[in-house]
Symmetry: D2
Subunit: 141 residues, 4 copies
């Protein structure tokens, strides 16, 4: 992905206004889009399982997590002006969505490869959100 | 919109499991999609203003708010299984995004009709999020 | 929704550059967001049905239709500069997604209220897309 | 990204029903999310440029392209049931959006690094869409 390069190419980057938050945020943006895709694919794979009726909670978490991840990756990609309270609130929502989805997918990881992979993508994204939050000055609530 | 009817048609509705949260959540879902559209249109209208260079912070808030509103309206439309912590975290992020955007658009409301209308849509959505949050048992953070 | 008012408030509106396309496009934007919400809620309601395993094709159409509708409603809300080929291509994709989803939901309309309502929202959106396309000068492919 | 692994983990993959479309589609999904992020970041970077008033068409293409790419990457990530006409229509819309955005960003590539990088991401995605379309049996319109 072009995330890190795009951050370096922002007119504000030369002025050094972005500080060390850049790297953690870049990893978080990449992880968010990866996780959105993995969750979308996992919801769809769960839907194709013979025992789909036992996987409806997993599908619900997957779909919600995908929506939150796309919004987070998109909003976190903007640096013009300031919108720190919204970025922080979204990172917290995203960390929570990823944590819950990783937990639920983890329960099916032993016999469904899509859940194992999705749990992995979710755990990575939850960690990346937490690190980006720390770099942005921590939780507000 | 079909929001209220769709909530009533969910298999869980007959069982009465949704309680009184339904009405506040329905209003919130409608307000979120209305606000997403208004913010998208306002960002675009700001872009067409001769003094666009003075409106970049407004465009940033508009775009972020639109993204958060779509995610919130979508996630809040799901009722199967449970995902309350994520719904609550998103409602808080959405209320904050709408509040900030209403404030900024309000500063331009006297001479730009799109900002006046957008501030109105944002204020309605912020209020609807707060009421939906209260009905869901309040803030967690 | 504020759609029609937002179109009237665009700086280009005074100059009359939007012509009669406005009304058809406004209806299409409203229909697209309504349909996105209905499809999201229908996919979720299908997931909560005891016979979910027979509804997986319906859920697939619902989820795809919701994604296309959000993108179409968002892109169609912009008027600054020009992007007619993309607006047209999206309207065609959206009409197709809504037509297919209306058809599939229609098959379950007799015993599931959410599919009946969703088929209605999809049919309205398919029609609104076709009319907006006609006003924009018709199909390109 | 986990795209290729997620495709291999779908219950239908073992049955070999996905054929050779997999690789082209996987590249297309990755390119679509990369392009969505690059376009979002480029619109935001254009907004921070001193001569933003000359870049409004570029921002319009960027924002539209980002929306189409997210929808395309998401819909293309589903394989349960069938929805080929919608996938094809979206791939065509996405190829067109990426082609137009690559062209416009290309005009500013010599003096703005974000436009040069974004043009690159758009061109890659346009090509990936064309190849995925060819593998899916070609254009329908």
């Amino acid at each position: 992905m072009h995330v890190q390069q795009m951050i370096g190419a922002h007119p504000g980057a030369a002025a050094g206004v972005q500080g060390r938050a850049s790297e953690a945020l870049a990893r978080c943006i990449e992880a968010a889009f990866d996780c959105a895709q993995a969750c979308t694919a996992c919801a769809d794979a769960c839907l194709a399982e013979p025992r789909v009726s036992e996987l409806t909670q997993c599908i619900r978490f997957d779909l919600d997590c995908a929506d939150v991840c796309v919004a987070t990756g998109t909003v976190a990609s903007r640096r013009t002006g300031s919108d720190a309270p919204v970025v922080r609130a979204l990172l917290q929502a995203c960390e929570e969505a990823c944590r819950l989805c990783a937990q639920e997918c983890g329960r099916h990881a032993h016999d469904m490869a899509h859940c194992r992979l999705c749990a992995e993508a979710c755990a990575m994204c939850a960690r990346a959100c937490a690190e980006a939050l720390a770099d942005l000055g921590g939780r507000t609530h």
